[in-house]
Amino acid sequence: MKRRWAALTLLALAGAGLMVPLAAFAEPYLAVQNGYKCVACHVNPTGGGLRNDFGVIFSENVLPVRTLPANFPTWSGKLTSFLRAGLDARASWTRTQVPHNPTQEQRQLEQLRLYADIALIPERLGIYLDEKIAPGKSQELEGYVRLNDASHGWYLKGGKFYLPFGFRLQDQTAFVRQLSGISMITPDTGVELGFERANWSAQLDYSNDIGNASAEARHQITGQLVWVQTAYRLGAAASATSTTDGNRRLGGVFAGLRTGPVAWLGELDLARDDGFADGARTMLAALGELNWALHRGQNLKLTAEIQDPDRAVPEDQFTRWSVVYEITPLPFVQLRAGFRRYRGIPQNDAENRQAMFVELHGYL
């Protein structure tokens, strides 16, 4: 029996390696379904990446259709008393149809990431690392020092990290993530002051501007406030960037609600950007998502999104809807299959594409 489980696990992990490990991004619907804050499961207080003790237990015992046998070796994430590690591997197959273009199929290793959290002073001072090691050359995505107060009510982190803004969705191509430019593939360098107490979670960040690829010093200030209740949560975020290309102001509200087996997510973001050659633009993106827990370890996700790239220009909006089925057959292995339909202005073929995809996700 033990050998069978070991073989199944190895098969799944090998499959993940052969296809494309899809990053260990966050899944905020799980937090909404369970009434948790991000910090309940993740080392990073703002969510995503390496899991803490409870996150590993949750992944091992609550998420999968089947748990491993009692005598099977368990994974705690702790390599030593001061070092916690994890990984995330994602592979995918995608078939895309763009009008007036040949159908394309892609198989790719989306990413293989390693995480580490080193406790310099247990529960007080630590170093967090998020390193992408494939595809391509190794790349540090996050690397920061974090200082907590004794009760973990306050923290200060400095270095390279993802800014907090709205839901940390698994899908980094979601319109709300693209409009804000803040996602789990766009780290920034700066400092973050965070507050985690009772039902509140708040962050204030001062950073160098995500889009800044020059030696020029830029300034981005970002703030987020979230109020979490067992059955619902409300959040608001704002960000301001000053650059020589122009200034950008960003605001967003987001909410989650649990109704029985369904977790609802909603986010609305608005941006004002005066860095365009033909003048300032006000842009909008919105997301509505339903996550239906069909059965233990299975989720059906329906998502509707809209983006208006310039509120002053009529009839330029584009939309996307998605149907995604997710199953976690075993601890630390997830399969995802879905369909996305894009609708935009008829003269732009790429805005009217549709895609089917299968993703295999392995994580520790």
Partner: protein, 270 residues
């Protein structure tokens, strides 16, 4: 939900492919050809500016019509600074091609979140780069006067860092047998243009596969805080010729037998 979404997407009336009003300078695009304007209107504007525009443009790269050429051609990539985003005459070593084809060392394949560009579209971009990555289409061959069409760095540029090379695109194929160590001079003066003129050792060569481009590479890294000129001729009275025998036409900046190709400044080190 589907009906609501369908009703929400724009009908595109009065807009170009990039969703901008036709009356404000947008164009209808047309058939994709291997020239910059066509690539801008058929690829960069409708596909890339979804993200690469505005003050939040990823990697500081703006691909709207007003900025894309100056931020692509001869400009080091932000992700892999050893590679130019577009290296005239060398598509394989142009970072934009590596990103579009999905084998760049860093980051995701472009367009991010969308399907890769069709191979035929990438082939057109490759061809444009092979042809010298000119800003404007050039009628090749007979009847076109032999002149420099674009130079990177361009005349009057003020650069934050010294360029590794100077890239000059011509209207006709160069006669490579006429190019030697005296053909092109790289000169440096003080930042105000005064003082003695230093002629810097440099190599001029025509890259394989792109006979309309001349690349000038300094033998040593250029210094910060100086003014640079690239000239043809001078004491030797040598010049450049096309394979048809046409001599390089002056751009009107002749001075003592030289033809000025470009002059630029490099900022002083901080």
């Amino acid at each position: 939900m589907l009906a609501w979404l369908s009703a929400c997407s724009g009908n595109g009336q009065g807009l170009d492919q990039g969703g901008r009003p036709l009356t404000s300078g947008g164009t209808a695009g047309g058939v994709l050809t291997a020239d910059f304007d066509s690539i801008q209107h058929n690829v960069f504007t409708p596909i890339c500016t979804t993200c690469h525009a505005g003050s939040n443009a990823p990697q500081g790269l703006h691909l709207d019509a007003a900025n894309s050429y100056s931020q692509l051609v001869g400009v080091p990539s932000a992700e892999v600074s050893a590679l130019l985003r577009v290296k005239p005459g060398d598509p394989a070593n142009s970072y934009i091609v590596q990103k579009l084809e999905g084998h760049a060392a860093v980051g995701a394949q472009m367009p991010f979140g969308g399907p890769p560009l069709p191979a035929a579209t990438i082939a057109v971009i490759r061809q444009w780069i092979s042809d010298g990555a000119l800003r404007s289409p050039v009628a090749s061959g007979i009847g076109t006067r032999f002149a420099a069409l674009s130079v990177v760095p361009a005349a009057g540029d003020f650069l934050e860092a010294p360029p590794a090379r100077i890239v000059i695109a011509f209207s006709q194929e160069l006669d490579q047998t006429q190019i030697d160590a005296t053909s092109v001079h790289l000169e440096a003066t003080q930042s105000d243009g005064r003082g003695s003129v230093d002629v810097l050792p440099a190599t001029a060569f025509v890259p394989i596969g792109n006979p309309r481009t001349l690349i000038v590479e300094p033998a040593a890294a250029l210094s910060a805080g100086r003014h640079y000129r690239v000239v043809v001729g001078g004491v030797t009275r040598s010049t450049l010729s096309s394979i048809g025998g046409d001599r390089l036409l002056s751009s009107g900046n002749d001075n003592d037998g030289t033809t000025l190709l470009t002059e630029f400044d490099v900022a002083a080190a901080p």
